[in-house]
């Protein structure tokens, strides 16, 4: 006869409000095999855990059911308590009477009856629990960082400084991300290049960092501590080891008129190019779609002029396999555009702003390039259409953000601040110019942020108009901005020379595809989801994968850097151990019964099932059976549900246990 202990938790009032916990404990005490049952206000507290430990000794318990919250919340807590009381931790189970019962029901009697049922089921299951021993797996102390913006660079540097190897993968030819495009940064107005480029150089020169630029993640296999990453290094057409970065090729390339995306197409670049002069690495790449050689087979100028012979037109994509133990995802954001969207798309464009056809209506990043000393105008604010200096500039906030009817309901968080910054940068460069800002609210929570915004109004004389803009249209060489001033209650019309739209921050296009490769979750906008909004803000629900920067939600630089360092700290915590303990909830094959139909191999989402040959002493092949690699098994039970001969079972969730639970109902 078993001696099970049942502990019913009140969870303050969370459970006790709707469930009669005393009654549940009293009914549990009457179940066959239960030696002790009680209730307590907070089981997870120190006295609660002591109650459990003392009861194990006093009542010689050989199994425990804690009826409380979800096992995701506290299973670990109570298994540790059971362990310290000398019990095998896997003989302690949780009955979830909070999320599955008290939180979702109103009727006290019905909820109480259901709670008792849940407890009875778990008692039935615990009686058939086996003592399990955790599986240990070695940890590969090498990290992968995806995305080389400020988030990825910071995380990579922190992990590398702690003495671990880091593989940094960046999609573009250079690292740097958006921060490399910015001019000066709020709230201190220090130059972005000056604080960013040294970090880029540090990352490239760090002995512990392997940098793969112009590369993407092809596939991801494995699990925490033991991932196998395949990286696709796209053909650069330039041999990195040979190139000295002299730039002769770019200077001589006859294709000069290709719009430079880094400069938001305000400037041009050749077909063989580095995106910006401070690029890291300073190795050019041939844009094959625009290169004469690749289009017509003629030209070859760069190959002729390149001294070290670094140009290789035959180069192909290469696949590189990198074993790593942890992954930091830092793929950042992109800006929403007001252009027309495909029919049926939940996100809409702005026809009322001309769908992006008015040349002097630009977005914030374009303004950053205009204001940047290393930008296409050398830091002069000039209109894209005619190169004139604009004397009246209208800034429009919340374009695409906080606009449910346009498909995005969240606040992009950074635009109130960068718009205030833009008005200042403008005033510093065009002293007789006037900046106007249309805004819904000014959201400036952050150290020295509100002071910064006030400065834009009080010292730099930006005129803030509270209200929305309904239409923008070209009239002669002016842009008419029609809006409302809700404080005064009038309609406003401003004839502007330049209009700057603070467009929404969105995840990168394709963020969902990468998430599917990594097996991490994302929200309806494709921002990556953290495991817990408050307590696990940098961890993914998938073990061993962490998040940093704007890929998780809109963020400014201070928030991005903090999160990147936090993600790095999590990686270092993981790497502090040589071996990882994994839950022994894995599938086992009964080799006697297995008929090797290998259906389980087809359905296993983790690829954990292999074929195993059984041979006699002479080495003759007798049979083939399925084998589950316990290091890879994710414990999902899919194989168990699909095996036609019932030859594979998950420890802790055997058919016998499940049947016992059903019978207890």
């Amino acid at each position: 006869m078993s001696r099970i202990g049942v502990f019913v938790c009140h969870c303050g009032e969370n459970i006790a409000r709707t469930v009669d916990v005393e009654k549940v404990a009293a009914e549990a005490a009457r179940l066959p095999g239960v030696a002790y049952a009680t209730d307590y206000k907070y089981m997870c507290s120190d006295p609660g855990q002591n109650l459990l430990k003392n009861a194990v000794a006093e009542h010689r318990l050989d199994g425990i059911v804690v009826a409380a919250c979800s096992p995701r919340m506290h299973e670990k807590t109570f298994r540790n308590a059971a362990k310290s009381a000398g019990l095998n931790p896997f003989l302690c189970e949780m009955a979830n009477i909070r999320e599955h019962c008290s939180w979702v029901h109103e009727d006290r009697d019905e909820a109480t009856a259901k709670a008792s049922d849940i407890v009875a089921m778990m008692v039935a299951r615990v009686k058939k629990d086996k003592r399990l021993v955790p599986i240990t797996v070695p940890v590969t102390k090498r990290a992968l960082v995806i995305g080389g913006g400020i988030a990825g660079i910071q995380a990579a540097l922190d992990i590398a400084d702690a003495g671990h190897q880091v593989v940094l993968v960046e999609r573009e030819p250079s690292i740097g991300g958006h921060m490399a495009q910015l001019s000066e940064t709020f709230p201190t107005l220090d130059c972005s290049q000056c604080i960013m480029t040294p970090k880029m150089v540090d990352a490239a020169n760090h002995p512990n960092i392997t940098l793969h630029t112009y590369s993407e993640i092809e596939s991801v296999d494995g699990y925490i501590g033991n991932f196998q990453i395949t990286v696709r290094k796209k053909a650069r057409s330039v041999i990195e080891e040979k190139c000295t970065g002299c730039g002769v090729c770019s200077a001589k390339c006859p294709q000069k008129k290709i719009p430079n995306a880094f400069d938001k197409n305000l400037g041009t670049r050749p077909a063989i190019y580095v995106p910006f002069p401070q690029a890291v690495p300073n190795t050019p790449v041939i844009d094959r779609a625009n290169c004469t050689w690749f289009k017509t087979g003629k030209c070859g100028v760069c190959q002729k002029v390149c001294g070290p012979g670094a140009i290789d037109y035959e180069q192909e994509d290469r696949l590189i396999v990198e074993p790593v133990g942890a992954i930091v995802v830092a793929t950042g954001f992109e800006l929403y555009s007001i252009t027309e969207k495909p029919k049926g798309s939940p996100i809409k464009g702005y026809g009322e702003f001309g769908h992006g056809t008015i040349p002097d209506v630009i977005d914030g990043l374009t303004f950053e390039r205009l204001a940047s000393a290393s930008g296409p105008t050398g830091g002069k604010i000039l209109r894209p259409s005619d190169g004139r200096e604009p004397k009246q500039v209208v800034f429009v906030q919340c374009v695409g953000s906080r606009a449910r009817e346009k498909g995005i309901s969240y606040c992009s968080k950074i635009c109130c601040m960068y718009t205030a910054k833009h008005t200042m940068l403008y005033k510093h460069k065009v002293h007789d110019g006037q900046a106007y800002v249309f805004f819904m609210d000014a959201r400036t929570p952050g150290k020295s942020y509100d002071e910064f915004w006030r400065r834009a109004i009080e010292e730099e004389e930006a005129v803030y108009i509270r209200g929305m803009v309904s239409r923008l249209y070209q009239k002669g060489d002016k842009i008419v901005v029609m809006g409302s001033d809700v404080h005064v209650g009038v309609q406003v019309e401003i004839e502007a020379d330049l209009v700057v739209l603070a467009t929404a921050v969105q995840p990168r296009a394709g963020a969902d595809t990468l998430a599917q490769k990594l097996g991490i979750s994302y929200d309806s906008y494709h921002f990556y989801s953290e495991a817990h909004a408050k307590l696990k803000p940098v961890e993914c629900a998938t073990a061993g994968i962490y998040l940093a920067g704007a890929c998780q939600g809109p963020k400014d630089i201070p928030d991005t850097v903090s999160q990147a360092s936090a993600a790095a700290a999590k990686v270092m915590t993981l790497f502090a151990k040589d071996e990882l303990e994994r839950e022994p909830i894995v599938a086992k094959v009964n080799e006697k019964n297995c008929v090797a139909c290998l259906y389980c191999k087809k359905v296993c989402p983790y690829g954990a099932v292999e074929e195993k040959e059984i041979r006699d002493r002479q080495g003759n092949l007798i049979r083939v059976v399925a084998y589950v690699n316990p290091g890879v098994c994710g414990g999902c039970g899919t194989c168990q549900a699909s095996c036609p001969s019932k030859s594979v079972e998950l420890d802790g969730y055997t058919d016998e246990q499940i049947m016992a639970m059903i019978e207890a109902l």
Binding site: G351, G354, H355, R471, K475
Partner: protein
């Protein structure tokens, strides 16, 4: 063998204006459809849709009027063709609104003593011409191309709005009018006030507002080099054509800008006799312009 061309036929809801101040819209619609071989059968006993005033006063009244019309239309075969932008918008809004509001639907069904017809496709003439009939066939039917005529297409507020409801075209930057009139050879101008409000039913209560709003529409069409305006709504037509003189007096600017219903221009292009298109009932006389362009 080429497949036989589909014979199109519609039930038709003209609305009050087309039987009164906008007779020429009705006449030209019938003329155009006849010339194109598209059937048009008027819904018997239809009533006023309530247009913009009704839903400002009593929502239930406005929904019930439209619901009644929809149920009357049930008896006539074919999708429901609507010419007036206001009727079109109200009928669509009614279907949209009652489809996901059961309480209101029950109230309305009580009021009209019958079921609401949520299924009948309600189509604006533009949609019928551009999508069902097709722009290629429209071009084929042309006898007198409108080449040389510079048209400013004016949508007004209601053709595409409220968003998600009429689904005629892009809400804020539609092109359907330009595509349709372009198919018969007219030149369309790019201009800024295609979607601005003309003042609509403030025409009697706050004429000052109308003069300002409609004035800026005429102003911007003229600045864009248009010879004329083309509209698909009797309310817009009233403000822009009938009040044009008044606007000229108030602003001191001369426009002399004829305001056509879309069907007048289309019918002219496919060979309907000018005498049947109601040009003589327009306040700003279009004949000098049409003569100059060699169209009459």
């Amino acid at each position: 063998m080429t497949p036989a061309k589909k014979l199109l036929s519609y039930s038709y809801y003209p609305g009050c204006s087309l039987h009164a101040s906008a007779k020429e819209y009705d006449e030209s619609t019938r003329g155009l459809f006849k010339a194109l071989g598209i059937g048009l059968k008027e819904v018997p006993d239809w009533l006023c849709c309530g247009a913009t005033p009704a839903h400002n006063v009593d929502e239930l009244l406005s929904l019930s009027l439209c619901a009644k019309n929809l149920s009357l239309a049930e008896g006539v075969e074919g999708d429901l063709a609507v010419a007036c932008a206001a009727c079109f918008s109200r009928l669509k809004v009614t279907q949209h609104h009652l489809a996901d509001n059961e309480t209101k639907r029950k109230q309305v069904e009580y009021a009209i003593a019958g079921a609401v017809n949520l299924q009948k496709p309600v189509k604006h003439l533009l949609e019928i011409l551009a999508k069902d009939f097709g722009l290629d066939r429209l071009t084929e039917a042309v006898q007198k191309p409108l080449s040389g005529l510079k048209v400013a297409c004016y949508y007004g507020c209601l053709l595409t709005r409220p968003p998600e409801v009429p689904e005629l075209d892009c809400v804020e930057a539609p092109t359907i009018m330009e595509r349709v009139i372009g198919a018969v050879g007219a030149e369309t101008v790019r201009w800024s006030h295609r979607m601005e409000c003309c003042g609509a039913n403030f025409t009697l209560s706050r004429p000052g507002v109308v003069l300002k709003l409609s004035g800026s529409i005429l102003d911007s069409a003229k600045a864009a080099g248009a010879d004329c305006l083309m509209v698909a709504c009797p309310l817009c037509h009233g403000n822009l054509d009938i009040r044009q003189k008044e606007i000229e007096e108030a602003t001191g600017e001369r426009f002399g800008m004829p305001v056509f219903y879309m069907t007048q221009l289309l019918a002219l292009a496919v060979g309907v006799a000018p005498g049947k298109l109601g040009f003589d009932s327009m306040i700003v006389n279009p004949l000098p312009l049409l003569k100059e362009k060699g169209l009459v």
